[in-house]
């Protein structure tokens, strides 16, 4: 069994809307090992959710994967038929969505919704499926699972609903769990419960997690690797400590400087990133962050930088990192 669980290579994905082509993902490559917790951070519209959806094959019309390959557990996802995909979804890769109220079906009971996935993938009969559902509810820390089984989503609190979502996602013990902002709709104390639960279950089941979030605090707590996305590109990738203590990309640095620190004893002014995120409908040539970057050079506006490896497992796409190579004449300065 190879170490690498997921290998996304150079994917490009666009949404063909009436207004034009929206380049949601522009040459994204991410690799992930078994047992890792990968955090994808970025602003809204940076393509973090779309990346996850493309792994599940959920980018339906008008979205289209134009180029690149996605390899999961040794199989090419992008070449699979719809039938094979259905077997994969919920069975080997599953997903927890942001808003538990809209992602649960309001007219079915909790029991129905959990059993659906179990019966579909394992071929168990209803009675066995319900038994398994009870186990799952117990696993995700819901008290009185017997009673909850018969309830509808509206009877549960937000945290409880998210636990049900996790139970559904874990029904077939997937190899990979994709959590798309799983705690954004929840309060801090409930968020802490859910994050704790996810880490516990990761150890128990031995799955890998992709955590999509805009909260740098959550990634610092949970993840081993981080991919920072901006305007449909991974601008920096590295281990948690590298990203937080040795950020290389100007956007990552800006992001870290712009959040207020809870344990700081003096009041310092926040350093904001000026400007607004780019419009992907007519994305600029060159580095997408260039218009907001303080150390923008001429070349940044013309050409997208290649990745520069800072260390093993830490790379970043920024012209500043290649400046030394310019000086040495290693690369032609266009």
């Amino acid at each position: 069994m190879s170490e690498i669980l997921l290998d996304i290579k150079n994917i490009r994905l666009s949404f063909f809307t009436a207004a034009g082509e929206v380049k949601a993902l522009n040459d994204v490559s991410i690799a992930m090992n078994r047992g890792d917790v990968l955090g994808i951070v970025g602003e809204s519209g940076s393509g973090k959710s779309v990346t996850a959806y493309s792994i599940m094959g959920l980018t339906a019309h008008p979205g289209k994967l134009i180029a690149g390959s996605i390899e999961f557990n040794g199989e090419m996802i992008n070449e699979m038929s719809e039938k094979e995909m259905r077997n994969l979804r919920g069975n080997e890769v599953s997903m927890v969505f942001q808003d538990p109220m809209t992602s649960l079906n309001p007219v079915y009971t909790v029991s129905n919704q959990i059993c659906e996935s179990i019966m579909l993938h394992t071929g168990k009969n209803k009675k066995d499926a319900q038994k398994r559902a009870l186990e799952l509810l117990d696993l995700v820390g819901i008290n009185e699972p017997q009673k909850r089984m018969k309830q509808y989503p509206h009877e549960l609190s937000g945290g409880m609903r998210q636990r049900v979502m996790i139970a559904i996602a874990l029904a077939c013990e997937p190899k990979l769990l994709i959590a798309d902002e799983p705690t954004t709709a929840l309060d801090v104390t409930i968020q802490a419960q859910i994050l704790e639960l996810m880490m516990e279950l990761k150890e128990k089941i031995g799955m890998s997690i992709i955590m999509i979030t805009h909260d740098l605090g959550i990634v610092a707590n949970m993840c081993s690797k981080i991919a920072v996305m901006y305007a449909g590109k991974v601008v920096e990738y590295g281990s948690v400590d590298e990203i937080f203590y040795n950020p290389m990309h100007e956007y990552t640095k800006g992001l870290l400087n712009s959040i207020p620190k809870l344990y700081e004893k003096e009041r310092t002014k926040l350093i904001a990133i000026e400007g607004t995120p780019v419009d992907l409908l007519n994305a600029p040539e060159g580095c997408p962050f260039a218009p907001r970057c303080d150390s923008c050079m001429k070349i940044c506006l013309r050409k997208m930088p290649e990745y520069t490896a800072v260390k093993d497992d830490h790379y970043s796409a920024c012209w500043l990192l290649q400046r030394e190579e310019f000086a040495q004449g290693g690369k032609s300065n266009e």
Binding site: G159, T189, A192, E196, D215, A220, S258, I273, T276
Partner: protein, 323 residues
């Protein structure tokens, strides 16, 4: 001039929530809260959803009529008066910049509406100049005045909301979760703007948010709320580093810190269960159902807000046991 700009005494705000006419049910959104805000300071209010922080903000500027209690503004009791003259002094910035701007009005009219109502511009030209100077103050420009809200991003809309609040030259602004709908990199821009506006215009803020790190950054003092009550109130650094109430402690430890080494060191206190319904809050101390220090007295008697050190208040029976 009073040092205390806003003072709230024993404020209660109950919302009617069904029941029979003879036995109506009430949601006690705010239950017996007293606080004051000094001139030029920022008081932060934090708490989970449904704890009543927004209700306090709205009741102070009397968008809701208080069930009982007193609101004192600059030494005058405004609980029952005609609010028109006070609307010039007290303003609010709402949470959702998508829902709080009228989509059919141009930005110029949104900002100018208050100027018209309070007759602050004698001529049309004055009005136009005033609108432009307001937009420039919040980092927009004069071209934006003729556009509609849908043409703007979330951060820009929030700026419009702030320009609207500033239109009448207020002294006091209630900021009701003004940054929670914004992207991280935009949040810092808006926070910085609130700070520089405060310096320039000597504003007083009531800053309501659920993110403690943001509130700590912008406030001088912070009040922590739980189910309609203030459980702890202190200076911002005092509250973060020397909090005494078990709820505040768990709230602070639950916040994921954006610092991997620090977060590995921190011991999380994970609270069990959910916030109880405000329709039927627990007897005595409202936090007791989730509190690990709860004893018998907690279910019988409601703890009062007591001063534990200078300017630091907490409401708990078992403060000596809490570690």
């Amino acid at each position: 001039m009073n040092k205390r700009l806003v003072e709230v005494q024993n404020l209660k705000e109950y919302f009617h929530a069904g029941g029979s006419p003879f036995k109506p049910k009430y949601i006690k959104a705010v239950d017996d809260v007293s606080l004051h805000i000094d001139r030029g300071e920022t008081l932060g209010l934090v708490g989970e959803s449904g704890c009543g922080k927004t209700t306090i903000g709205r009741t102070i500027i009397r968008l809701y009529e208080p069930t009982s209690g007193k609101i004192i503004y600059d030494g005058v009791d405004i609980t029952k008066v005609n609010m028109f003259p006070y609307r010039r002094k007290m303003q609010i910035v709402f949470q959702d910049p998508y829902a709080s701007l009228d989509p059919r009005m141009t930005v110029g009219d949104i900002v100018g509406e208050a100027i018209d109502i309070h007759k602050l511009a004698p001529t049309k030209r004055d009005r136009g100049d005033k609108i432009i100077s307001l937009l420039e103050r919040v980092g927009l420009n004069c071209e934006h005045a003729n556009r509609y809200p849908h043409e703007f991003s979330g951060g820009q809309r929030q700026r419009i909301g702030i320009a609207r609040a500033l239109a009448v030259d207020p002294e006091f602004i209630v900021c009701d979760e003004p940054i929670s709908a914004l992207d991280v990199s935009i949040q810092a821009q808006v926070i910085n703007m609130f700070e520089s506006l405060q310096e320039e215009m000597g504003l007083t803020y009531l800053f309501i948010a659920h993110e403690l790190s943001v509130v700590k950054h912008i406030s001088n003092r912070i009040g922590v709320m739980y189910l309609g009550k203030i459980v702890e109130l202190a200076n911002n650094y005092e509250l973060i580093f020397h909090c005494v109430h078990p709820y505040t402690k768990s709230l602070i430890s639950a916040i994921p810190v954006a610092d991997p080494i620090q977060s590995r060191k921190n011991k999380r206190i994970i609270l069990d269960g959910d916030v109880p319904s405000p329709l039927n809050p627990p007897s005595g101390c409202r936090f007791r159902t989730r509190c690990r220090y709860a004893t018998e007295i907690c279910s019988q008697q409601e703890p009062e807000l007591k001063e534990v050190s200078a300017g630091h208040f907490a409401a708990c029976h078992n403060l000596d046991k809490v570690q």
